[in-house]
């Protein structure tokens, strides 16, 4: 067997420098690196990586095209299964998906599929192709929410000739890609905007400031505005709090608020009016991608940051790369630690009372559940606390449209996105609860197919 080549590292900016700005941390591959990494792929007959990608991107095929220098062909291959390659290459938890199953990973390091995907799709963006607006088939579909599920659903339907309009509650498009994931991980102008421009080029229309369920109901969209089917991709945007004393003190934020002020409202830029809270010592509670994003944003705004997580480093649910980057940049971690009270004086946060934890027996999810060690309380001083405990779907649309809802406010839908009402489809975080970009995208595309079948069978 040929000697194994080491995995090609992407170009990353110096942690000292990047920890002070909002520019992208990883610059990904250049041509040489992409070719070097592509040459590592064994082009397996039964590729395990493909099975492990939620949308089954034809990984060996696109990598083979990279090897031959046909980047455009590679991009087209990816586009057969994903409409958000530049995004997913950057933000997918590859270590638990495609790369986690790569055969090379058994003995050594897996192929860096994410970086290749990102390179190929970014490269393709550099030579914009003129897309012909498909001929209209005379049918109208409304998409609610402009997150990855809505964008993906709209893209497919538009390609098939549907007249599609995306209704978005906020003033900017992209869902979590816009308001949640920070600029230093997902550049808004270069990556996100081009995805949205692509949709516009396909003829998809966008309308901002429409809170479906308040500004207009789904029934009115159908009855008064003539939409024959509706896709609901409203995400899981409601932040959870811990319900511990002191949580409403000044200086306690949900990660959503903290990140929205910075990403959507650009509070970190001097020429924007939205204020952000100037803190010198920040505690971030949680261990997911959201917690890493909040921690690294606070760090960039000049704070000393500690992530408090009740399990250990191995259980951190965040993408491994983000944890690694956060540590490199100087974010501190307190594992097996859980807040029990936010401490304050004169209405302001002064610290957090925490308790030490230990891992007990595995719970239903197979994870070992943390148990508090009695009497182990201790205080950590802080002037801001960011709660990153997860989010749940906003039940507004489901309730106002009379859709069947699950226990946590999720919309009940089958695997093709069909809800309890004919003609209304749903997918992404609104159905699954908080998950990932690629799953949301996949759900949007499945629903597009089901919508096409539904309208054609009418």
């Amino acid at each position: 067997m040929a000697e194994r080549l080491p995995r090609t590292a992407p170009i990353e900016r110096d942690p000292q420098v990047r920890a002070k700005d909002f520019e992208e941390v990883s610059l990904g591959y250049d041509k040489e690196r992409a070719l070097a990494e592509a040459s590592r792929c064994l082009n397996c007959k039964n590729p395990r990586c493909v099975q492990a990608c939620p949308v089954n991107i034809q990984i060996p095929s696109f990598i083979a095209l990279v090897k031959s220098g046909d980047f455009e062909g590679a991009a087209a291959k990816i586009a057969e299964d994903s409409s958000l390659g530049s995004v997913c290459g950057r933000v997918c938890p590859q270590e638990t998906q495609c790369e986690g199953s790569c055969i090379l990973g058994v003995k050594g390091e897996p192929v860096s599929i994410g970086n290749l995907e990102r390179f190929v799709c970014d490269e393709a963006k550099k030579t914009p192709k003129s897309v012909a607006v498909p001929e209209h088939n005379g049918h109208k579909v409304a998409v609610i929410g402009s997150g990855p599920s809505g964008l993906a659903c709209a893209a497919d339907l538009a390609k098939w000739g549907y007249e599609v309009k995306i209704f978005e509650a906020l003033h900017a498009y992209g869902g979590v890609l816009q308001y949640g994931i920070p600029e230093f991980r997902l550049p808004k102008e270069t990556v996100l905007k081009s995805e949205i421009d692509n949709l516009r080029a396909l003829g998809v229309e966008f309308e901002a400031n429409v809170i479906v369920g308040r500004t207009i109901s789904i029934d009115a969209l159908i009855d008064d505005e003539g939409y024959e089917a509706v896709f609901v991709g409203t995400g899981a945007g409601l932040p959870m709090f811990m319900r511990i004393p002191g949580e409403n003190l000044n200086g306690v934020f949900s990660a959503n608020e903290y990140l929205t002020r910075c990403n959507l409202m650009k509070a970190y830029k001097a020429d924007y009016d939205t204020p952000y809270f100037h803190a010198s010592k920040v505690i971030v509670v949680g261990g997911g991608n959201v917690a890493m994003d909040a921690a690294r944003t606070a760090l960039r705004l000049g704070a000393d940051v500690t992530v408090v997580y009740r399990r250990t480093e191995t259980e951190l649910p965040a993408r491994r790369e983000e944890v690694h980057h956060a540590m490199q940049e100087g974010v501190k971690f307190a594992f097996l630690t859980n807040p029990v009270e936010v401490l304050g004086a004169e209405g302001k946060v002064t610290g957090v009372k925490c308790i030490r934890m230990e891992l007990g027996e595995p719970d239903a999810s197979g994870r070992r559940s943390p148990i508090a060690i009695p009497g182990s309380e201790f205080d950590i001083p802080a002037d801001a606390v960011i709660m990153s405990l997860g989010t749940s779907p906003n039940p507004l649309v489901g309730k106002t449209a009379g859709l069947e809802l699950g226990r946590k406010g999720t919309i009940c839908a089958d695997e093709n996105g069909a809800t309890s009402r004919a003609g209304i489809f749903a997918g992404g975080d609104a159905v699954s609860g908080a998950a990932t970009v690629i799953l949301a995208m996949g759900a949007g595309r499945k629903a597009a197919k089901a919508i096409d079948e539904y309208i054609k069978s009418k």
């Binding site: 409403n248 934020f253 939205t274 204020p275």
Partner: protein, 286 residues
């Protein structure tokens, strides 16, 4: 776009604007608010829907210049547009969802610009034949707004000013007591809208007179759709999001101390930002 069709200076620092927003105008109800952004780099600012005309497709807002964003809003002129107007947000006033008893008698207590959100509520009740009075308070005669408009839609407007320059010389709370005790008014419901501190004391007074009281909480907000939690306040011991579960709540259950404190989160930053804004304006010779 959300074009400004009319603009009127009500007091030195309050402007009323009629804005084109057809979707919103069609479904708005009393008690609801909207969120505007004046410019591309602007903040999302919640403002009450002070009137709406579904046929014309317009809404009315009245804005008091207090910080950078409200100053920017009031600097817009007829023919210019807001880049964003979103809504209606929040729950409509409780009376929109119930059969109001014929013998109901509402007492609205307005502090300053609180008169603007009260106007659509009084108008709604008036059109349904329900009795209501308004106690209209302001610092001074020049700060009084909506007096004429309110007189058209309620039984009686009691004016009070802090300096005695018009109407009763004293606070709205004293006027409420007088109306009940001296004029024998039998109010079945009070609704207080204005500065947080005024709503706190209005609640205390109304409760001491055994009148149930509703207040409208103008908390800080970012999205206004339940996504950020910036607007959270404690009502009856439970954390609530004012933007989706309010903005109107039973005044007696609101933790006013917390609400007052939370309103000050950004005050230092905002003061600095406003000074910067004024400096820029002077610099430009405006």
């Amino acid at each position: 776009m959300y074009e400004i069709l009319e603009k009127e200076q009500l007091t030195p620092d309050i402007c009323r604007m009629k804005v084109k927003a057809p979707r919103l105008a069609k479904v708005a109800l009393p008690g609801q608010f909207l969120i505007v952004r004046a410019t591309e780099n602007g903040e999302r600012i919640p403002l009450t829907i002070a009137d709406y005309d579904s046929e014309e497709g317009t809404v009315v807002i009245a804005t008091q210049s207090i910080g950078t964003s409200t100053n920017k809003i009031n600097a817009l002129e007829v023919g210019e547009s807001f880049i964003d107007v979103a809504g209606p947000l929040g729950k409509p006033s409780e009376f929109c969802n119930i059969d109001i008893p014929k013998d109901a008698y509402y007492c609205f207590i307005a502090g300053g610009l609180g008169a603007a959100p009260i106007y659509p509520q009084a108008k709604y009740l008036h059109e349904k034949g329900i009795h209501c009075d308004v106690i209209l308070g302001a610092r001074s005669s020049v700060n009084l707004v909506y007096k004429k408009e309110l007189e058209q839609v309620c039984d009686k407007v009691y004016v009070c000013t802090d300096d005695g320059s018009e109407g009763f010389h004293g606070l709205v709370t004293a006027q409420l007591e007088k109306a009940v005790k001296e004029d024998g008014k039998k109010y079945t419901q009070a609704v207080a809208i204005g500065p947080m501190i005024m709503m706190k004391f209005a609640t205390l007074t109304a409760s001491s007179l055994n009148i149930p009281v509703i207040v409208s909480l103008n908390t800080l907000m970012v999205d206004g759709t339940g996504m950020c939690g910036a607007c959270r306040i404690t009502v009856d011991g439970v954390t609530r999001f004012a933007c989706v579960e309010g903005p109107e709540f039973d005044g007696t259950k609101v933790d006013f101390a917390e609400a007052l404190s939370r309103g000050r989160i950004y005050s230092d930053l905002e003061k600095a930002s406003l000074e910067e804004y004024h400096k820029c304006k002077i610099g430009r010779g405006k």
